[in-house]
Point group: C2
Chain length 292, copies 2
């Protein structure tokens, strides 16, 4: 059980230090997060980007570039390709987005020749430390898959379960969310949920309404008997709107701290955005570095 | 602007006292809420149900039935029909669900002969007092419409805006939620949102991600210039899963207080469920009674 996001930092420090390669590293946000994580002894950065801009940012923020590997490349497509190839050559363990479009980075990741395909679907996972919940809880998929079909849903859950295992949660409890806790013909999310619960490698239940997933009392009110109810580790939402609204509500209205990565490639990918807080960016690097 | 749900109680007390008819009133939950609301001087109940069971409940909870109108009817379909007809005959102002299935109650509401159709779509609205937000915020539609099409969405928003107006919010600010704040071909919710923003009788914007809707800072980060951003009164979610997950997250993880009613009939309908807290049930009656 993970009780807080700070335990990800502890875990990352215990692991052999991971090397994180930043594609288009000439980016204040990415560099700030990476240098903080380096200071914490969580990762070792490799910067692929425009060396003059990298130097300017380092000077502005007073970061020392001594002993840091920098590959000078100003074309962002090339940055992505070089970063991905470094991972393929075992020169780096984690990929991070810098100053380039997500689509450009993912195109390199999915490149058939030198990319990082593992055969699994790419999916987003976010871990939250919510003051009102008794342990870390994950949400999938708030950012990658728009309207996953049944097969995609199973892939997303598989990615999520496997990653939580690599964080030390042996049997993650998965709640397949819907608007109600019974199967209804008219609600496709409930039908998919019923089928998905036949997955074997995790403790899984659904359809569950969110209250049943996070509150034992609420589940008891409804007469729900379930190992997952009130104790979920993973909340799986049926589409990107439901997952994204859940994700944002936790951060902006429930005071949650967050860490997020992209799963399904051969390595975790850190895709923070400008609107993420500094803490989220740092936590996301820790999340990527904490997995065994 | 509504700053708290208690202002609904104040508003309801100022109004001419509304009469609430409970269909199948032989129900501990409904009677408890209605008698509390009566004690608060918010409403006057009319009980349609099995008189012996009503008396038993009254005795158990020590409720006085003196001066309370009771219509003895043990068949639940008949209870629904009688309650609905009382409203049509201007003998009652609000309908409340007692010990019967929601479907049975709504069948009576939608009856073409004696029902309560107004020509509008029935939709659910929930008002929340969230500790982390500066005013009351509403969510639609977390419980009635599963996968509303564009026309339905417009009807739901119209219902919601009109009701907030009746609560004294002249120009409600509506945020049409999606997973992102830009229109994307691949995301139908964003396309509908763009079209819906052409509605004329409210301040409306979308697509907005939830953070843009509730946080000015987050909207500024994204360069969003909008009257709604960071100050939304109504959050419209694209389908029942997204809305219901939002609704439940606010209550169970963000510590929100709640009040909810069904709109679109000639009168507001209170449909509380067993799993609602006593406070939610009472607030919902206040919400129904507070409208002008």
């Amino acid at each position: 059980m993970l009780s807080s996001l700070s335990s990800l930092h502890e875990q990352a420090k215990k692991n052999i230090k991971k090397r994180i390669v930043i594609a288009a590293a000439h980016d204040e946000n990415a560099m700030e997060a990476a240098f903080k994580a380096r200071q914490e002894n969580i990762i070792e950065p490799i910067l692929v980007g425009d060396i003059q801009k990298i130097k300017d940012i380092a000077q502005k923020f007073n970061f020392s570039l001594t002993d840091i590997e920098i590959i000078n490349e100003s074309n962002v497509e090339q940055c992505a390709a070089v970063a991905v190839k470094l991972i393929n050559d075992k020169q780096a363990d984690i990929l991070m987005k810098g100053n380039l479009e997500t689509a450009i980075l993912l195109k390199a990741v999915l490149n058939k020749e030198y990319g990082l395909r593992s055969g699994d679907l790419l999916s987003h996972i976010a871990l939250f430390e919510v003051p009102t919940y008794h342990k870390i809880i994950a949400v999938a998929d708030a950012a990658m898959n728009i309207a996953p079909d049944l097969k995609d849903k199973i892939s997303i859950i598989k990615n999520s379960v496997n990653y939580l295992r690599r964080l030390g949660i042996d049997k993650p409890k998965v709640a397949i969310l819907a608007a109600v806790e019974t199967v209804k013909d008219s609600m496709n999310a409930t039908i998919d949920a019923a089928i998905i619960t036949k997955m074997k490698n995790c403790i899984i239940d659904g359809p569950l309404a969110l209250d049943n997933a996070v509150s034992k009392e609420s589940a008891q009110h409804k007469g729900i008997i379930s190992n997952v109810a009130g104790d979920a580790d993973i909340l799986f939402a049926p589409d990107i709107e439901a997952a994204n609204i859940l994700y944002k509500t936790l951060i902006f209205l429930a005071g949650a701290k967050c860490a997020a990565v992209i799963l399904g490639a051969t390595i975790p990918i850190v895709l923070t955005s400008r609107s993420d807080s500094d803490e989220t960016k740092l936590n996301s690097i820790a999340l990527a570095a904490a997995a065994n």
